[in-house]
Subunit: 402 residues, 2 copies
């Protein structure tokens, strides 16, 4: 079945996490993604996270395999005139361009939106930076962790009275990836209606601020600064991890009706008290309510609590390890796992975070080897054999070989 983005050509200069995660989703939707890589080693993500400093036998990292399906790889040395000339010609024939170079780099290559739009007015040009292209911090380098710190997210993550900790995954990168996808799809929709392309931008800063949006509004309105509360939060009670006989479960009952069901399913005598009836009551008597629930949960196993509360539609979940989560039958049942072969090895990866039932996502290509599709892509973009030979001699695709 055809994907919604069939025939859409994406030239992707981005590296590591956010950009590649974005273009992978566009590829899942049917777009043709041309991943431009630096010839000597390619996307740094190919070698991130190596265990014990050793290369895995398959020669590529798990995170690269997780974020680069449905792409072709073309190597391009943007330090050469020949490489830049090829990049310009690819951009001229593209529907979408994505990059995460630092502000100014694309302008130096003659690949800024302004430089490209005249010849390609339908181009959707998506730029992803750390802090945006302007402003006092635009020149400072950053990554996911830097924005966890800068955004205040880190200050809210940790145990009360102890040092802040990082969010265990690159949440801002991956959120930024979806922000790019949304911006690009919005721009493609506008183009379909009007023929006009446009400049789209996102950044780690905007993505992190979006993740923090309700805390910022609270600060701006009332001057309140939330701090880390372990597994609890300020929104409602109960809303945190409770210890069980054999581990931990989260129990969340934000509304009064859900709280009543929770209290009655766990221990009506100790919990279904009139004093605890409303959201406001439970916030006021927070320590007492949490203590009473803890007394009850410590007398049961995690599974027993999940069975009791799941049956009465109270929000409940076990605290899983990564392996337990990845092995969960529910993830497969929900269509969250995709599969392909890489170098003869069977690989499983996580799907896009949404499913379009009329135009389902497909895996048409495994993640590419570095530069594996250089010639094929050039021919798709109407390069002749002689033009490819000239560019090759000019070092466009890396040091010229004999």
């Amino acid at each position: 079945m055809a994907g919604p983005l069939d025939g859409v050509r994406v030239i992707d200069f981005s590296r590591v996490f956010a950009g590649p995660a974005a273009t992978q989703i566009l590829g899942d939707l049917g777009a043709e993604i041309v991943k431009i890589e630096e010839p000597s080693a390619g996307d740094e993500a190919r070698f991130l996270g190596l265990r014990d400093g050793n290369m895995p036998e398959r020669g590529v990292s798990a995170c690269f395999l997780a974020l680069n399906r449905n792409k072709q790889s073309l190597t391009l040395d943007l330090k050469t005139e020949a490489g830049i000339a090829v990049a310009r010609r690819l951009a001229a024939g593209a529907d979408v361009l994505v990059h995460n170079f630092r502000p100014g780099a694309m302008t130096r290559f003659g690949l800024s939106y302004e430089a490209l739009r005249a010849a390609n007015p339908g181009l959707v040009y998506c730029e992803f930076t750390a802090y945006g292209a302007d402003g006092p911090m635009a020149h400072i380098g950053a990554n996911d962790l830097a924005l966890q710190a800068h955004s205040g997210l880190m200050s809210m993550t940790g145990e009360p009275g102890r040092p802040p900790v990082r969010v265990g995954t690159a949440a801002i990168d991956l959120h930024g990836a979806l922000a790019m996808v949304a911006g690009i799809l919005g721009a493609l929709y506008h183009r379909e209606r009007t023929g006009e392309g446009q400049f789209v931008e996102s950044s780690l800063l905007l993505s992190s601020a979006h993740l923090m949006s309700y805390f910022y509004t609270e600060y701006w309105l009332d001057g309140v600064e939330r701090r880390a509360m372990g597994t609890a939060n300020h929104l409602s009670v109960p809303n945190q991890v409770f210890p069980t006989k054999d581990g931990g479960v989260v129990i969340i009952a934000p509304s009064d009706v859900m709280w009543r069901r929770c209290a009655e399913a766990l221990d009506p005598e100790r919990l279904a008290k009139p004093e605890y009836r409303t959201t406001t009551d439970r916030q006021r008597l927070k320590d007492e309510v949490i203590g009473a629930i803890t007394d009850v949960t410590l007398s049961m196993t995690s599974d027993e609590i999940i069975e009791r509360l799941g049956a009465v539609r109270v929000n409940v979940a076990k605290v899983n390890s990564v392996g337990e989560a990845a092995s969960s039958e529910q993830l497969r049942a929900a269509g969250g796992v995709v599969e392909f072969d890489y170098g003869g090895e069977h690989v499983q990866a996580v799907s896009a975070p949404f499913r379009m039932h009329g135009t389902p996502a497909t895996v048409r290509r495994a993640p590419p080897g570095l530069g594996a599709d250089t010639v094929e892509v050039l021919k798709t973009f109407s390069f002749g054999d002689d033009e490819i030979a000239v560019a090759t001699r000019g070092g466009a695709f890396g040091p010229p070989r004999d």
Copy 2:
């Protein structure tokens, strides 16, 4: 200037965070969002996070104001036949429908995709659930925190050897919001090309799995389960918070060239050693490298380190509080703050996490009062005065008044 989604009508049955955050972005892009609310109290988010259990004077929570601009509110009692009849008619005239009811609820209302598509084949129907509509856990209730626990994200967040903690914000909800936006925009694009609507779904499960995607692939390939490492991670060294004279900074230098610049800018003698030269070296000598950097950072202020490393394009950031982050001049410079009035009060909120320069987002409406636009919306959907009167008597919009 016209937004890309001008003229697109969205009927939004969703509540609390993920769904409202999604439709707010569609509204920022120009869509008309009709927020359907339960008549007695409306979206629970209106009252979440009240300080000390007291209502703020403005009568609505900061998180509601953060996530509900550019919407109209219409109250509907879906426990009445009259209310359900109105809902069906709105859905019949909508371009997009969004809901986050539990599996089965919309079917009971006669508002399933199957029930609506015949009369409205162009409808983009977006369903957001906890764990998806099928599978062994489909019936279990969950929220952001529950999926932080279930997905393994919580197990990776915290200090080594201490209990796991929550991510300080509702990252899975907000990531799910962008997943919905992406799926809806992809479906609208397909519709623009073909005239066909479709069923789109996302869930907390798919969103959390996407945030964890590279860890799951690593587990599936190699059986590795990552654990919480405070502010450090497994990807590279240095990549964590370092203490300074007056607080903390994150320093991240994943590539060898960036590490060289970092070492030379901070203290060439102690850090620019040949033994620390490569990614692999620094992983192997991790404790030694971190110790050496810490000795250096403790002798400087955070600002001094940011100046030194920012100047040589090394990723660096201060660990900010929520207030420091919200007050950052850079966020305004990057276009990340939008403003409107609510009840005479000036409100600031965070923008969508991407900017479309050709079709910029606008704030056309402040967050609505409960049911404030009921009659206006009904007239837009061609209800006559007599039809409105009949529905009102039937309790469609809440208990009938005289």
